[in-house]
């Protein structure tokens, strides 16, 4: 059907005429990328997000959806051509953040709020999203605070257009000491675990879906003991999902691998301990799928790429790092069918970089979400 559309478009526009070459800097306004039009992106290098690289590569986008990806595709006549000397990657995905939600998502008085839905706190026009876009982040997971035992459900949003990609991406569980000591029950690990077991043994609503394996959990942990506790808890109730917190995962990478859980790494920052970096390397070695948290706006959106670069400097395979920022992140967030790769049928969320995004010297030259240019440079 897509080919039919393309043919129709080319017929309507006269077929034979050469495709217009439009310099990227003139493509800022919606006037030039009009709906229903085919846009072709040609770059010196395409990182497809799944580890594969095309040099050079062509990407055909129709109505905000990627329709074709190839090394040397013929540009459909009538398509607007964007030639880019540099790299194109799928938009980066931050797996744990609180952009544009202010003080929402943190309910300090209640122990369990399984029905709380982070999408209700989503304020798409907040300036935080513009900052995220400028760093090449096109989607992020708004996650409930880790201060509740059951914080509610996370939601995956795009950083432009107010799009909610997925509601109820995870059920957020607080298994770290952050969920304790809040002046309310429970105040101890055993109290917390006792309460969680009570909730999960007689499950209702979202918890029942988590127990049935239909709603992945996101278990916040900090220390080794907390990580172990979370692994045991997940095994006991056969939960699927991810751990949030990787600082102490170095020695536990094999156990985590056996658990089948993914890991969302703690956001990286300048001066972070070498242990956090070694943990990521160990997870990669054990084959554990992982992505990076961000926790913006408390952190700079460039921390996402900074963390990946820090790990690459310490020996992480750049390909694995790029996957962690895109396709693996999409899988962990449960949205791999829509974003995270440059593949046919997926949303055209793209970043045009000056060079490899793992190099911090590379800059974002343009960001497209749903085929629309969303950054001004």
């Amino acid at each position: 059907m897509l080919t039919l559309l393309l043919t129709a478009a080319s017929l309507a526009l006269g077929g034979e005429s050469p495709p217009p070459v439009v310099p990227p800097e003139t493509l800022g306004s919606p006037k030039t990328v009009f709906a229903g039009t085919v846009t072709a992106f040609k770059a010196s290098r395409l990182y497809l997000g799944d580890g594969r690289i095309l040099e050079p590569g062509v990407l055909i986008v129709n109505d905000g959806i990627i329709t074709r990806v190839g090394g040397d595709l013929e540009i459909p006549s009538g398509a607007a051509l964007i030639e880019h000397e540099g790299c194109i990657t799928p938009g980066l995905i931050a797996l744990h953040s609180t952009d544009g939600v202010g003080a929402e998502l943190s309910d300090t008085t209640r122990v369990a709020l399984p029905d709380a839905d982070a999408s209700h706190a989503f304020q798409p026009l907040d300036h935080d999203f513009a900052r995220a876009r400028a760093a090449g982040i096109t989607a992020l997971v708004l996650a409930p605070s880790i201060t509740s035992l059951v914080g509610g459900q996370s939601t995956v949003v795009k950083t432009h257009g107010g799009t909610i990609v997925k509601r109820g991406a995870h059920l957020a569980l607080g298994l770290s000491s952050d969920a304790l000591n809040s002046g309310r029950f429970p105040t101890s690990y055993d109290g917390a675990l006792g309460e969680l077991k009570r909730l999960f043994s007689d499950p209702e609503g979202p918890i029942a879906r988590a127990v049935a394996g239909n709603l992945p959990v996101l278990m916040a942990v900090n220390t080794r003991a907390e990580t172990r506790r979370a692994l045991r808890f997940a095994a006991e109730f056969q939960l699927k999902g991810a751990l949030y917190g990787s600082t102490w995962a170095e020695d536990l990478s094999l156990e985590i691998g056996e658990s089948g859980l993914a890991v969302i790494c703690d956001p990286f920052d300048v001066g972070d301990s070498a242990r956090s970096v070694r943990a990521v390397l160990a997870l990669a070695k054990a084959g554990v799928p992982f992505g990076f948290g961000l926790d913006a706006p408390g952190r700079h959106p460039d921390c996402l790429r900074f963390g990946a670069a820090l790990c690459v400097r310490a020996g992480l395979d750049p390909q694995v790092a790029r996957r962690a920022l895109t396709s693996d992140a999409a899988s962990i967030a449960g949205v791999a069918g829509r974003i995270g790769r440059l593949a046919r049928g997926l949303d055209a969320d793209l970043v045009l970089w000056s060079a490899d995004p793992i190099q911090l010297t590379s800059s974002v030259e343009a960001v497209y979400i749903d085929g629309q240019r969303v950054t001004q440079h």
Binding site: G271, D272, H300, F306, L310, S354, L360, S363
Partner: protein, 485 residues
């Protein structure tokens, strides 16, 4: 000094001690060390970055006793020397604004003054792992600054980050590396209150300005401090002149008295006898030249401020708000010898033209802090370094002087600054030669030249280019980092 004859005894002739005798011993020690081949290295590289923008192809560097002694294409490896090969050799990175190696109490000290020396607070016995990590990242030298919260933080210190150095004399390269002050930093959690005589509550902030009126005063205080230094120096110079004049007068008088020595002796004897006859005590004749000019009272703080006013020590002011930077530039205009360096400078883009015109270097701190930061840092942006450089401002890059571990990530922060518009060559310059020049270390560090200290990096590619990972690091001629360790 010649022996003074008795009539001249009252004349207070000065005596000066000479320490010249010490230096030959040091030279001898140097010669002995040269016999030791374990400190001899030959580094061969496809490209040697002598200094930013100057590259030698297929060149070898001979390192002996901590120094670069030869650079040549046809260098033979001496017997026993260790040979290292790589793609690119460049000078070690310098972090001009770091906290790595400072005890927390030194860093947070708010009682520091102009005579406080960070060198005295350098702790070489903890955080070895952080030094090792920084070294592995290519940062070989850091300028540490205590008392960043204080209005006057005192003198900074340049310290080698090689964890194998555990004595201050080895690690500290310069113990008066700029005098630090700060303007308008907010100090969350450290505000104090006092009740005034009318019962009203007044906010105290130690020496630090917190409100806008205080901040104006704070700029004046900086200028006033430099002025006291200038006056102190003026008085010192005056004293030296008076002393010279006095010495001259004494010499003249001595000559005159020596000429008339016999007559003077006779006359003195006569006076002595007369006094004895009358049963009075004999008093030596007073000369007006006896009165020695009085030395100015020594004041350690003012002595340092004097060096600042005279341009012997750079003045490093951490200041962020545009208004304060502008006021500071205005208030220091009259001090023609002052070498002002601005640190932080988050809002400096609007005064970039003045900074460029006055040749004031700026130490930019490419920070990854999020939106919750003190208001003076709210405008801080990764594009600052590139934007300032584009306006012609001399840009240095530092890790911010607060977090010890951040020095390790300075090369990554510099890379981010490049990603946000800073020219890669300027970023490299910011991390090497510019820091050395700004803090008077260029004769020893910051470039790859004969006679310079061997603080060298061997990389897989040119700095700030893809694949530029650090393979070997030399610190003061010691091979401190290899791919194996």
């Amino acid at each position: 000094m010649r022996p003074s004859p008795s009539p001249l005894a009252p004349l207070g002739l000065t005596c000066c001690l000479s320490f010249v005798a010490l230096s030959p011993a040091l030279a001898a020690a140097d010669e002995e060390a040269q016999e030791d081949t374990s400190s001899v290295f030959v580094i061969r590289a496809a490209q040697v970055v002598v200094r930013p923008g100057e590259v030698l192809e297929n060149t070898a560097i001979l390192v002996r006793d901590g120094r670069i002694v030869r650079i040549a294409a046809d260098l033979e490896t001496p017997d026993g020397a260790v040979e290292v090969q790589g793609e690119v050799v460049c000078a070690g990175f310098i972090d001009p604004w770091s906290a790595l190696g400072l005890d927390g109490s030194v860093l947070d000290d708010r009682s520091s003054d102009a005579a406080t020396r960070t060198a005295d607070g350098v702790d070489l016995f903890s955080n070895d792992h952080l030094r090792a990590e920084a070294l592995r990242a290519g940062v070989t030298l850091a300028r540490l600054q205590g008392g960043y919260r204080a209005a006057v933080g005192g003198l900074g210190a340049f310290v080698r980050l090689d964890p194998a150095l555990d004595s201050a004399s080895e690690a500290i390269v310069d113990d008066s590396a700029g005098l630090a002050m700060s303007l308008g930093l907010s100090l969350p959690g450290s505000m104090r209150f006092s009740r005034g005589s009318d019962g009203s509550l007044r906010m105290l902030s130690g020496d630090r300005a917190v409100d806008v009126f205080d901040r104006v005063e704070a700029v004046d205080r900086v200028a006033a401090a430099i002025e006291t230094g200038r006056q102190y120096r003026e008085r010192e110079v005056e004293y030296r002149y008076e002393l010279e004049e006095w010495q001259k007068a004494i010499d003249e008088k001595t000559l005159k008295l020596e000429k008339d020595f016999k007559k003077a002796k006779k006359s003195r004897k006569k006076d002595q006898d007369k006094a004895e006859d009358k049963g009075k005590e004999f008093k030596e004749k007073k000369y007006k030249e006896d009165k020695r000019p009085r030395a100015p009272k020594f004041n350690a703080e003012r002595a340092e401020l004097a060096r600042v006013a005279a341009g012997e020590t750079p003045l490093v002011v951490e200041v962020h708000r545009a208004s304060e930077i502008r006021n500071l530039l205005e208030a220091t205009k009259g001090f023609t010898r002052l070498r002002l360096v601005i640190a932080g400078a988050s809002e400096s883009l609007s005064v970039a033209a003045e900074l460029a015109e006055r040749s004031v270097p700026v130490i930019v701190w490419p920070s990854l802090s999020g939106t919750s930061r003190p208001d003076e840092l709210s405008a801080s942006d990764l594009s600052l370094a590139g934007n300032l450089a584009a306006e012609g401002v001399t840009v240095l890059l530092g890790s911010g002087g607060r977090d010890a571990a951040a020095a390790r990530d300075l090369p990554l922060l510099a890379a981010l600054a490049v990603g946000h518009g800073l020219d890669p060559e300027l970023a490299f310059k910011a991390l090497t030669s510019l820091s050395a020049e700004t803090f008077d270390l260029a004769d020893r560090l910051g470039s790859v030249e004969i006679g310079k200290d061997a603080d060298l990096l061997v990389l897989d590619a040119m700095p700030f280019h893809p694949g530029a990972s650090v393979r070997y690091v030399f610190s003061g001629g010691r091979l401190a980092i290899t791919p194996e360790n």
